[in-house]
């Protein structure tokens, strides 16, 4: 298919453009400028609204810059905003999301990298069949699988609880959600790692085999050290994906451990009380900060991660 690697996006080729203010160029830049305004507008609106006081919002419009800059909405969104009976702000959701994200990212990448390695270097009978099912499975709407997974998590949790004599649960717990994220992250991550490990020179693998290294030793001592970039790409992909998840969070957890996106939606779309638009926008911006930060810091690696999803097939 197409070459979507970061390299191909590295910039225009050919000689430097001649500096000229031709009508065509004016058209070109003004179109790009108008497009840029459309894309930047929501970010601007989020920022200015979150810095205004409520009286100022009621008097003006969403685009007016703040006259009296206040950080109170941010403080309120972080530590006081209410969802239902809990009034400890978005901070609870933030820490929940961190607790969900960290193990999910580690486990899903660990599983998928080993899987991709096995698929690239240790093919066995049927491995390609399973992989094809995995890739096509990525297109199945989540809604089709969501309910049976509820049952699977509940039953497995009960079995583990009975075996260990505790009241362990998978459904409505962090560990259940981690499993779900690992499952649904698997197709894209496995594809990413399989393609990467396939591109590693075969001689390296053969040499290690001749030296008597086995499956795990080659993985840890040969493959892992040389695949740091692809791990970074996978981490970026997973952190943003899991942070932005709403559906799994709302289905497989319970109110006390709702991730940030779910809590944000509950705060903003709650029907009780007076709408505090400035607090709402501060909360929205807070939730977007993590993926935005990753995007602006990682730049091309982010592009590479999402482009990897595009090379399906």
């Amino acid at each position: 298919m197409t070459d979507l690697s970061a390299h191909s996006l590295s910039g225009p080729r050919g000689p430097k453009p001649r500096r000229r203010l031709s009508p065509a160029n004016i058209m070109l830049y003004s179109t790009l400028f108008i497009a840029a305004v459309y894309y930047l507008l929501p970010l601007y609106v989020m920022i200015v609204t979150s810095l205004k006081g409520m009286p100022e919002i009621r008097l003006g419009n969403v685009f007016a810059p703040p006259v009296d800059i206040t950080f109170e909405p941010w403080v309120k969104a972080w530590s006081e905003a209410c969802t239902g009976i809990n009034c400890d702000g978005l901070s609870r959701g933030f820490w929940n999301s961190v607790q969900i994200m960290v193990p999910s990212v580690i486990i899903s990448i660990a599983i998928a990298s080993v899987n991709g390695y096995a698929l690239a270097n240790w093919k066995f009978k049927g491995s390609e069949v399973f992989f094809t099912i995995l890739i096509f499975g990525a297109f199945i709407p989540y809604q089709v699988m969501i309910y049976p997974i509820v049952i699977l998590l509940r039953e497995t949790g009960d079995v583990i609880a009975a075996a260990t004599g505790t009241n362990f649960r998978l459904m409505g717990s962090l560990s259940g959600l981690v499993i779900v994220h690992s499952i649904f992250g698997m197709p894209i991550l496995t594809l990413l790692f399989r393609n990467y490990f396939t591109s590693v020179p075969e001689e390296l693998f053969k040499a290690a085999r001749v030296d008597g290294a086995g499956f795990w030793r080659i993985y840890f001592q040969v493959m892992l050290p040389m695949s740091l970039p692809i791990f970074v790409v996978a981490i970026i992909l997973q952190v943003t994906g899991i942070w932005n998840d709403f559906l799994f969070g709302v289905i497989y957890t319970k109110p006390e451990i709702y991730p940030m996106t779910v809590q944000l939606n509950n705060i903003v779309n709650s029907v009780q009380g007076v709408k505090e638009y400035n607090v709402n926008m501060a909360a929205t911006l807070l939730t977007g900060l993590v993926p935005l930060g990753i995007y602006f810091v990682s730049g091309k690696l982010f592009v590479r991660g999402i482009a990897a999803g595009a090379v399906k097939g």
């Binding site: 070109l28 894309y39 399973f130 992989f131 499975g137 199945i140 559906l247 977007g288 990753i294 482009a307």
Partner: protein, 310 residues
């Protein structure tokens, strides 16, 4: 890979020693267990389970023994809410498909004209893609707010009778969601298109210049046909995203006003987890699967069937 790929021939030679075959390459098989589990139990098992139960009269709990044939589907297609959902999905789907492709390609083509500040523009166009649908929905809900948002601003400019209130108007609410959806996703299509444009040989451009073909005509007659695979990839990505639309609607309108902006994914979740009508949820989700297959099967046939012929 020669080491492992010879496995096929080797295993023929060592066919009599059967027990060995299962244990051969054991570590790789153990390492692949999560993948095998996901492929067989989750992707195939759970899908088959849901399809089977869509033919039963499951209410609060799944009832595998209460077989009712196509009853759930008949009910589904006579439910107004489902029909509204399907209509919304069709409008949203067609519009977002066309707009994403047009905007994505146009922006990519503009960025490919060797302009200054390409990196800055690209970063601006793509950043919404990093944000969640919840954040997207909430911020556009605020911008489209009739009291303080775009409508108010234009009225303040002197156009007193201006009305643009999609989120409270049942007839156009889906377009309000569309604006947000395009904002979030079109940058991604632009990236794919840009990569496709960069993959086109510089000589093609030189040749068309020599022939005196105008730039716009070159794009339509030469470049776009050459980028067919890129467009197909973009099409599949957009289409598989459209069917999943759920969080955006939940955040932006909660399906309102009334049921005017309901979508199938939301219908399924609500039937399963709120109105305790599992059978309807299963039937509706099976219909979602069918619509995915309608897109996916021709694509897979073209993509992989074509490769085999080469």
């Amino acid at each position: 890979m020669a080491v492992t790929d010879s496995g096929g021939r080797e295993s023929l030679r060592t066919a009599p020693k059967k027990p060995n075959r299962l244990f051969k390459n054991m570590s790789a098989k153990i390492a692949s267990l999560p993948m095998i589990f996901t492929a067989l139990v989750v992707f195939i098992g759970c899908t088959v389970w849901t399809i089977y139960h869509s033919f039963t009269k499951s209410k609060l709990l799944p009832a595998p023994d209460k077989w009712v044939g196509l009853d759930q589907y008949e009910r589904l297609w006579s439910t107004r809410r489902w029909l509204v959902s399907i209509e919304n999905l069709a409008i949203y789907g067609i519009c977002s498909l066309i707009l994403s492709l047009v905007i994505g390609f146009t922006l990519a083509a503009l960025l490919d004209r060797k302009i200054r500040g390409e990196g800055v523009f690209r970063t601006i166009f793509l950043y919404p893609f990093a944000l969640s649908f919840i954040v997207t929905g909430l911020v556009w809900q605020w911008i489209l707010n009739p009291q303080f948002g775009i409508q108010k601003v234009v009225q303040n400019w002197g156009w007193e009778s201006f009305t643009f209130d999609p989120l409270n108007n049942a007839d156009i609410v889906i377009y309000g969601i569309l604006i947000a959806g395009i904002w979030q996703g079109s940058g991604f299509i632009m990236v794919i298109m840009l990569a496709g444009l960069r993959g086109i040989d510089e000589d093609i451009w030189k040749a068309t210049r020599v022939d005196g073909i105008p730039t716009w005509k070159t794009y339509i007659v030469v470049i776009i046909p050459m980028m067919r695979p890129v467009f197909v990839t973009a099409l599949v990505l957009i289409a598989s995203g459209i069917i999943k639309v759920y969080d955006l609607v939940v955040a932006q309108t909660s399906g309102g006003p009334g049921i005017a902006s309901e979508v199938p994914a939301k219908y399924v979740i609500e039937k399963m987890f709120q109105s305790q009508n599992l059978g309807q949820g299963f039937a509706a989700s099976t219909m979602m699967l069918v619509s995915v297959l309608v897109v996916l099967i021709p694509w897979a046939y073209l993509e992989f069937g074509g490769k085999r012929r080469d």
